[in-house]
Symmetry: C2
DNA sequence: GATCATAGCTTACAGTTGTAAGCGGAGGCG
DNA sequence: CGCCTCCGCTTACAACTGTAAGCTATGATC
């Protein structure tokens, strides 16, 4: 398994674009990110290369352009990241993590109810 | 504010020791980590230096030993990290994060109830 | 007082990341 | 057919990270 827990911020920017678009040419990725990152196209190209070297993304050729696509799903990365954070920074203390999540973010209306539902579900499926 | 969101794994190992001990000499830090990391003492020393350069830890002298102490609390780092993960990887979708947290970890007995209590509390304090 | 162990300070060196320029080839325009 | 532009490929270079050895000073020991 690749080390999904330690993906750099810029790599993640790119993955986010690919996850959103499904597939995207280097140009599209660049255009999507440029307003945010201010990167030159070459820079985005380098990042795409490196991600491909790490086998986190792949590409097919369309004429002389490359069309990139992620090899990992957002869900895999999310899960690996949460697992890492929970283990290394929270010592597995799930409620503490949830607590910071609640206080650190804009809680959307309905989020709390949805979380409650998740807990119910877990409780039925689990052993608690 | 320091960039607490991007602390490397080894840095975090050290911070974890300091948070647990309150204060610790370089030797104590090393002895606490050596079984896990297998690092040489010099390596731990270097890491302590670098952390201090980043102003994440500081030290006082006790004879010829340095006694280190964290300058950031675990809570600050936890909060910054959760905020970062939630924003960059989860697009602010709090329930998704909680969902992975629930499925990624050993859920201790009582955790679910505690989380429910947190939600209740948040709901009273918040606007949802 | 001379020696030895140990503490921290300085230096090392390869790998990764941030950030990008330069080069060579393919397609389009005149 | 030749030139310009745009593409990806290769190279660059500084900062940071992983991992540690070497140097120097100081406290302990004989």
């Amino acid at each position: 398994m690749k080390d999904l827990g330690r993906i750099s911020e810029h790599q993640l920017d790119i993955l986010n674009v690919l996850w959103e678009y499904g597939e995207a040419t280097a140009r599209e990725v660049h255009e999507a990110l440029e307003p945010v990152t201010g990167h030159a196209r070459k820079t985005t190209g380098t990042l795409l290369h490196r991600l491909e070297k790490q086998r986190l993304i792949t590409h097919r050729e369309d004429g002389r352009e490359f069309v990139y696509r992620a090899c990992v799903t957002r869900e895999e990365v999310q899960e690996a990241t949460v697992r890492g954070v929970l283990g290394q920074l929270f010592q597995g203390e799930l409620p503490a993590l949830v607590n910071y999540a609640l206080s650190s973010s804009e809680v959307e209306p309905g989020d709390l109810a949805r979380i409650r539902a998740l807990i119910d579900e877990h409780q039925r499926g689990g052993s608690d």
